[in-house]
């Protein structure tokens, strides 16, 4: 029996969201008297991976393949194989484009119950239940999982990792067979050069139509830079092509859960709120005191973004 965590690597490092998944997996292992193991696929090094012991991993299965993230079938084949070899009762992934796709494939291969957007640790009182976010953060469901293998995709901030000195044993690992070629060919990847990735960001500065035009985004970027935050935008801004689609936060865009979300010149339509309501602290800056966003905010400033943002940036520097 084990808890198996699928860790995503980026530039040789384990992604922050995967650290959360490992810590989550370690707590599940503790509650079920088993051990937390990690499957890491990609380029890295033994030192980096052994440090996952700090987050509760006892063993890291390291598969040194450099598949692009479009090769979902290859990742899923390897993870499903590791689940069988390790007789895992729980499979944990961090929510991401790759994580959810791999979770779905592995669940189908093992006929395992699957819960995504999980926001808390499982309850083992009567069978296994997990709490997950539904209706785009407007509600929660407690879901009972009826199968021997359970696959969980966890949402950002489901747990707050605390390091405890430990060393994980790193094992070079291979699946028992190779995945069939699915004919998926990655032609090109276009990635923004921004320093902070929005889905993983703890701090987010977001702006809406109140900025009046894409040429005015400098004051948003300056504030984000002073904070070390990622930038985001509302749907109208992305629809108008002022900002790229992957920055669009809302019901039909990205759902974020940062510690701090600063909304600048966004009125706060219910569809936008659905994408940000999991944020710990929300600051709203809007010149319209009647903007509905103030009702969902922790701190509010009624004022002109063109005046307020530069002053905030200066105060931070």
């Amino acid at each position: 029996m084990s808890v198996l965590v699928f860790a995503e690597l980026e530039n040789g490092q384990v992604k922050k969201s995967s650290i959360e998944a490992i810590y989550y997996g370690a707590l599940v292992a503790k509650a079920t008297q088993s051990t937390a193991k990690v499957l890491a696929i990609g380029a890295s090094n033994s030192d980096t991976l052994s440090q996952l012991g700090n987050w509760g991993a006892s063993e890291v299965l390291w598969l040194q393949e450099t598949w692009d993230s479009a090769q979902i079938a290859a990742y899923a084949h390897a993870l499903a194989d590791a689940v069988a070899q390790e007789q895992s009762a729980f499979v944990i992934v961090a929510k991401s484009v790759l994580g959810d796709a791999v979770a779905a494939s592995v669940a189908a291969k093992h006929k395992a119950a699957l819960a995504t957007n999980v926001v808390a640790l499982p309850d083992h009182a009567a069978g296994v239940t997990v709490k997950r976010s539904i209706y785009t953060g407007k509600a929660f469901a407690t879901v009972k999982l009826h199968t021997a293998v359970k696959v969980l995709s966890i949402k950002k901030n489901a747990v707050t990792p605390e390091a405890n000195a430990g060393v994980a044993e790193v094992k070079h690992w291979q699946p028992s067979s190779n995945a069939a070629n699915t004919g998926i060919k990655l032609v090109a990847t276009h990635k923004a050069s921004s320093t902070v990735a929005l889905p993983e960001a703890d701090l987010v500065v977001s702006a809406g139509r109140g900025l009046k035009g894409p040429e005015n985004w400098g004051i948003v970027e300056d504030l984000a830079k002073a904070l070390g935050a990622a930038t985001a935008c509302s749907k109208p801004v992305s629809d108008l092509n002022w900002r790229p689609h992957h920055e669009h936060v809302g019901q039909t865009g990205l759902k974020v859960a940062p510690n701090l979300y600063i909304a600048c010149g966004i009125s706060g339509a219910i569809q936008h709120l659905a994408g940000v309501n999991s944020s710990k602290v929300i600051v709203v800056i809007n010149k319209d005191p009647e903007a509905p966003f103030f009702k969902a905010a922790d701190y509010g400033i009624v004022g002109d973004v063109f005046e307020v943002l530069p002053r905030l940036t200066k105060a931070l520097q």
Binding site: S69, A73, S96, V97, D100, A103, A104, S105, A108, A112, A113, L114, A115, T116, T129, I134, Y135, K138, A139, A141, T142, V143, K144, L145, T182, G183, I184, K185, V187, T189, H190, K191, A192, A197, P199, E200, L203, L227, H245, H246, Q251, T252, N259, L260, I270, Q271, A274, V283, V284, F294, A296, D298, Y299, G300, I301, G303, V308, R311, L312, L316
Partner: protein
């Protein structure tokens, strides 16, 4: 080309969410149901592909009879026929099983659906269906063109996008801007009334069940900061909210 479009019947994006029966059931009273917005994009692209390449578009819904008006609307937009699996869509695995079961009987070149449903937001049905059928699933797809047996698509990833080439058959989870939403024409609405809507019995069982629903705790009152004291926000975020 044979296209299957899987749609969900979900509360409108502005619906107020509440629960009944001791928080064990979604309270449908006063809630407007719509075709999932992402599914709408999938359907619109399917209709465009049919216009371009010929073929058929079949709409599939796993749901109870109250989903029929939404299915008829999909027929009015341009689907040729519809299948409703007569069951509550109780979990992702159950829904995927129904789709895979139907796709095994009729070979489709493309199975399109939204990237996720607007109620449970699981975003895994396309992945489950792909695995069950042994064909690739890709999501969330923003652009899709077909030439012969090859699909060229763009999907969104964290912080950017990927261009991918794949061979049909495929399962795709769709999102904007794959197509413009289509509004049913008067002619479409009239013809939709007589297009076939087949109701079939479900197969298999769900692997998970919802025990209870809950609403998030109410948000505390907002603390307003006078615009003259903007700078004090930094101190509040550092020492009161402790997020910096």
């Amino acid at each position: 080309m044979k296209i299957l479009v899987c749609i969900s019947n979900v509360p409108d994006t502005t619906a107020k969410i509440s629960f009944s029966d001791g928080d064990t059931k979604f309270n449908k009273s006063g809630v407007q149901f719509i075709c999932g917005p992402y599914d709408d994009y999938a359907l619109s692209r399917a209709v465009e592909l049919k216009e371009e390449h010929g073929g058929t578009v079949t709409v599939l819904n796993v749901g109870e009879a109250d989903a029929d008006p939404v299915i008829r609307k999909c027929l009015a937009i341009g689907a040729d026929d519809a299948i409703r699996v007569d069951a509550e869509p109780s979990d992702s695995y159950f829904v995927a099983q129904q789709i895979a079961h139907i796709a095994q009987q009729e070979k489709y070149d493309l199975i399109l659906m939204g990237r996720e449903s607007l109620d449970f937001n699981s975003g895994v049905v396309h992945g489950l269906v792909g695995e069950m059928l042994g064909i690739p699933a890709v999501s969330p797809v923003m652009h899709l063109t077909i030439a012969g047996n090859t699909a060229s698509l763009t999907r969104e990833i964290e912080g950017g996008k990927q261009e991918i080439e794949a061979t049909l058959p495929l399962v795709l989870g769709c999102q904007e801007p794959i197509a413009e939403w289509k509004i049913p024409s008067m002619r479409g609405i009239v013809s939709a009334r007589t297009k076939p809507l087949k109701v079939v019995a479900p197969t298999g069982e769900a692997l998970s069940t919802v025990e209870k629903y809950a609403l998030p705790p109410a948000k505390g009152a907002v603390k307003m900061i006078p615009v003259e004291q903007v700078e004090s926000l930094v101190d509040l975020l550092r020492n009161e909210a402790k997020v910096l």
